[in-house]
Amino acid sequence: MAEYHLKTPIPEEEIRKLRVGDILFVSGRVITARDEAHQRAVEYHEEGKKLPVEFEGNILYHCGPIVKKVDGEWIFISAGPTTSTRMEYIEPTFIKYFRPRVIVGKGGLKEGTLEALGKYGAVYAIFPGGLGAKAALAVKKVVGVEWIDLGTPEALWILEVENFGPLIVTMDTHGESIHRDIEEEAKTRLDDILKKL
């Protein structure tokens, strides 16, 4: 369980050093994207259109924030993670096309994504669910917003963050997944508990 302070853009070799259980604090560029932004981004790529943001080397954050506009400037009020599993169907393609280095969310992703992480050099890390105030206070500046027509929770928010964390690496480039391990362990324990009822 090592602790790392990383700055974007993060080189691929740095990411390949990480192991599940490592704790990260990141500074630099974070871009939020949920279900609909994932969908549109992949469609853009397949139609040969350029995205309005650059994911490569940066952090992709599964998050639908509460935002507020004050004197023409967007402010992040509360911005914890959303459930990543909903993006599983599209995440491996997203990683292949856009090469984010760290994907942050909650709840974990599945085998398809695990394979893509190893292949393209990225990790999945959780930010503990519900830590909306803590995440928002790590946002130093809202650099921009794209695809606001999707609604404020679904838009691509481009953020400058400082010491955003603790992010806990739960899926790495070496094929390890804490989510898979804990699920298996809990199943064994469940059977044991039910037998003794």
Partner: protein, 301 residues
């Protein structure tokens, strides 16, 4: 006078909403702190520490602790002689609209037929109101902003009555196992037993209103709560599903007599951000908090 009371009420409910989404009740904070002290898994301990960090920052900065400020569920206990009894539903809707902008809370009311978000936390049957009308001229209003991630893993299981209490326990344990890390553990489990399908779910959700340091008043039920707590924590799911000793902060059971042929078990899962706030308003417009040690005027919008 009654127009005044109306605006006092709307303002009080908006402030109450702000308090609910920024300040956890003491019993929940204490349960998280105790879990942090006892936790032996280092990753789990780190997560619990960051949860404590977050609710402290939320309280100090006035920002919602979680960006999912939930579905607004109200429990209204109103005296039949309260002057604005018939206007309460309207008042609650007005307060939801105002809170969406002033707190702010996230617009979380979506039309399920047309897939459209109303944008202001109101809509058909929203906010949802559970009514109880009794004698008197005051009103007690409890807000339970229920997060969507943890609602997603709630379950109703209709089990064979022959399985008895053992079947009830199995239903609860299986539901929490299936929920895994999805409802943002450590969670609180509200269990509703008996009645009928709808009654069990209502009781399960209502059970979440009981503070975590209070066991059920009937010893057999209290014992069931403690047994379930111990067994659920031995699943090892842990905070955020990454393993550890703390899967569940508390189990609250409520029950109703059932039909001989039916044994409904409702399992309502609630994330660690177990937000709730209760106020009492007199017919003269005096407002007092019953859930938190705070004065209305101290809650800034």
């Amino acid at each position: 006078m009654s127009r005044d009371l109306r605006s006092i009420l709307v303002d009080a409910l908006v402030r109450q909403t702000k308090l609910a989404v920024t300040t956890l009740p003491d019993d929940v904070k204490n349960a998280i702190k105790t879990a942090y002290e006892k936790e032996s898994n280092p990753v789990a301990k780190k997560i619990l520490a960051s949860i404590i960090d977050n609710y402290t920052m939320s309280e100090e900065s006035g920002r919602p602790m979680c960006q999912d400020t939930g579905t607004l569920i109200w429990y209204v206990e109103v005296g039949a002689d309260f002057p604005l009894l018939l206007e309460l539903e309207d008042i609650i809707k007005d307060a939801a609209r105002e809170a969406t902008v002033k707190v702010p809370i996230r617009p979380n009311a979506v039309d399920p037929i047309r897939a459209k978000n109303s944008g202001d936390n109101t809509g058909r049957f929203m906010p949802w109101i559970n009514w109880e009308i009794r004698e008197g001229d005051d009103v007690i209003l409890t807000l339970l902003p229920k997060g969507g991630g943890s609602e997603f893993t709630s379950q109703l299981r209709m089990i064979s009555p022959g399985l008895g209490i053992k079947g009830v326990k199995e239903a609860v344990i299986r539901a929490v196992y299936e929920a895994g890390g999805k409802p943002c553990p450590p969670i609180i489990v509200g269990v509703g037993i008996g009645g009928g399908a709808d009654i069990a779910l209502k009781l399960g959700k209502m059970a979440l209103l009981r503070p975590l340091d209070k066991r059920h008043e009937e010893p057999e039920v209290a014992q069931l709560e403690e047994e379930l707590l111990e067994k659920l924590n031995s699943l090892g799911i842990g905070p955020m599903g990454l393993g550890g000793d703390t899967t569940v902060l508390g189990v609250n059971v409520e029950y109703a007599y059932r039909h001989p042929a039916t044994l409904p078990v409702a399992i309502v899962t609630q994330c660690w951000a177990a937000r709730r706030a209760t106020i009492r308003v007199t017919k003269d417009g005096e407002v007092e908090f019953l859930s938190h040690n705070v004065k209305l005027e101290d809650i800034k919008l």
